[in-house]
């Protein structure tokens, strides 16, 4: 929070702030009350709607949560594989972009620009509909993983490239001067430091991967969101509003914890790396640590 925007409040400003706070608080309260009344009117607060999700005594509560738990595992599996593959492909892309000779660098850059310009939905759709035509009939999860990998590996490559660019040039020069080849200097000196410097950004990217697993509905993979959508079709459930609130809460909690982890790692690393403090400020790269384009 920026506090330079206003003076330390005096008695009058404090009073005005208090009055404004109370008024806004009352307005918020009014909104909540109206929303609850409206929900009650539409019978959305009943045991029938909430019971299966929040009341352990409800007969179908264990079944519902067993199903949600299974789907959560599916979400994590897809996100895990997508992250592993994206890291591998992303590192390879970053290394080839950094070391590529001019005659084929445009190929790497072009591929990356192409993949960055397309919606991830299209990549997942493409993987699921086109690969089977070429005899690559895989489980649904792999179409999702392939789509997510195509999309995220480019972003991870950019993050790593930003990490390499954030290192002082003396690192590479020192490596070369003790007789390492360009490739060795990249692998032994630059990459390890780039990974460390970019760890917060990589964790933030995990949030994106986790969120994008929800696109599994396109390939009918039963991760959290699709499973929730199937569950609410059940005649005993019929509670999309409540179900999606719970699913949203699960996602928000997990991803919030992950972004806190990223901030913590960033604080720890900031004093122990040769990289410049703010990678977002490096021209020609767009990755920044915890804020930035992780959308």
């Amino acid at each position: 929070m920026s506090t330079v925007l206003y003076d330390t409040p005096g008695p009058k400003a404090r009073r005005n702030t208090l009055i404004a706070s109370v008024l806004i608080g009352l307005a918020l309260l009014a909104v909540v009350v109206v929303a609850l009344l409206k929900l009650n009117e539409q019978d959305q607060l009943s045991e029938l709607k909430w019971g299966p999700l929040v009341n352990p005594g409800n007969p179908i509560f264990p079944l519902v949560w067993a199903s949600i738990g299974e789907a959560a595992v599916n979400t994590l599996v897809a996100a895990g594989w997508a992250l592993v593959f994206s890291l591998i492909v992303g590192t390879v892309l970053a290394m080839s972009r950094v070391t590529a000779a001019r005659w084929y660098r445009w190929l790497v850059v072009g591929l990356m620009e192409l993949l960055r310009g397309l919606p991830v939905v299209i990549m997942i759709f493409f993987a699921s509909r086109v690969l089977p035509n070429y005899g690559l009939g895989l489980d649904n999860v792999w179409y999702l993983v392939i789509g997510l990998t195509l999309y995220n590996s480019v972003i991870i490559a950019e993050i790593i490239r930003a990490g390499i660019a954030s290192l002082p040039s003396g690192q590479l020069e020192a490596g070369l001067s003790i007789g390492l080849t360009r490739w060795q200097a990249l692998r032994l000196i630059q990459l390890p430091q780039a990974f460390r410097a970019m760890l917060p950004a990589l964790i933030s990217q995990l949030v994106v991967v986790l969120k994008d697993t929800s696109l599994g509905f396109i390939v009918l993979y039963e991760e959290l969101v699709r499973r929730a959508n199937i569950l609410v079709q059940d005649p005993q459930m019929q509670n999309p509003l409540q179900m999606f609130l719970i699913i949203a809460a699960l996602f928000v909690l997990t991803n919030w914890l992950l972004s806190k982890l990223a901030e913590w790692v960033e604080r720890r690393l900031s004093s122990r790396t040769a990289a410049k403090a703010d990678p977002a400020a490096i021209p020609g790269t767009y990755a920044s640590a915890t804020g930035g384009a992780a959308i």
């Binding site: 706070s21 919606p119 939905v121 949030v207 509003l241």
Partner: protein
């Protein structure tokens, strides 16, 4: 290739549909995001909490869940209007994107040198004046690159609205052409991909130009 040329009018309509959705969503999320960004630096604590809560919820929740919630949850509340899914899709995009716009604006405000705000206060400007006349004009220039990335990401995310069955949008064109007209999938997908690239690649290039144009020497 013939598939694309023969159906160029449908692809064109899809492109216009996507642009229309994105224009509404961009205006909505920019306005909402800037307002929320101001909330987050305001001296009134409840406003800061609202901004904080908004960003925490919508940045960490998948767009799919936001859209499902709007599309299947709102009817449960008895909400209904003409072109329901189209507007719900735009609403979902606005809710989701505004959180990212808010974060970008806030980081831009924090990036303005403290001396600027101090000078504004020293000549007697109020909070609103110093924010509106001194801080925001500078902050908005520094946030052009991140805001641009957010908006380009939003264009790509808008494909999801099409996946929800909103017709007349670029991604929905795939379904129209392959299911209803029985055309082969690969050329249709390539055509749609080209459609998105027509929007995102020039937008990225334009953003680079704009970034150099509005950059402030510090």
């Amino acid at each position: 290739m013939n598939v694309i040329i023969d159906n160029i009018d449908l692809f064109w309509d899809g492109l216009l549909g996507t642009l229309m959705i994105c224009a509404y969503a961009a205006v909505g999320s920019l306005v909402l995001g800037v307002v929320l960004g101001i909330f987050r630096v305001s001296p009134v604590p409840p406003l800061r909490w609202i901004g904080q809560a908004w960003v925490t919820v919508f940045r960490n929740c998948p767009l799919t869940v936001v859209l499902f919630f709007c599309a299947f949850g709102l009817p449960e509340l008895g909400v209904d209007f003409p072109d329901f899914y189209l507007w719900v899709g735009i609403l979902g995009l606005v809710l989701y994107t505004s959180a990212f716009v808010c974060e970008a604006v806030r980081s831009g405000i924090n990036a303005v040198q403290p001396g600027q705000a101090e000078a504004a206060r020293a000549i007697g400007l109020t909070f609103t004046q110093s924010l509106g006349l001194i801080i925001l004009p500078q902050a908005l220039r520094t946030v052009v690159p991140p805001l641009g990335s957010v908006l380009i990401a939003m264009v790509k995310n808008s494909a999801l609205v099409g996946a929800f069955g909103v017709g007349g949008e670029l991604f929905a064109t795939v379904d129209t052409l392959t299911s209803a007209r029985g055309l082969p999938l690969i050329p249709v997908l390539v055509g749609v991909a080209i459609g998105y690239l027509i929007i995102t690649l020039p937008a990225g290039a334009l953003l680079g130009l704009l970034e150099r144009k509005v950059a402030i020497a510090r």
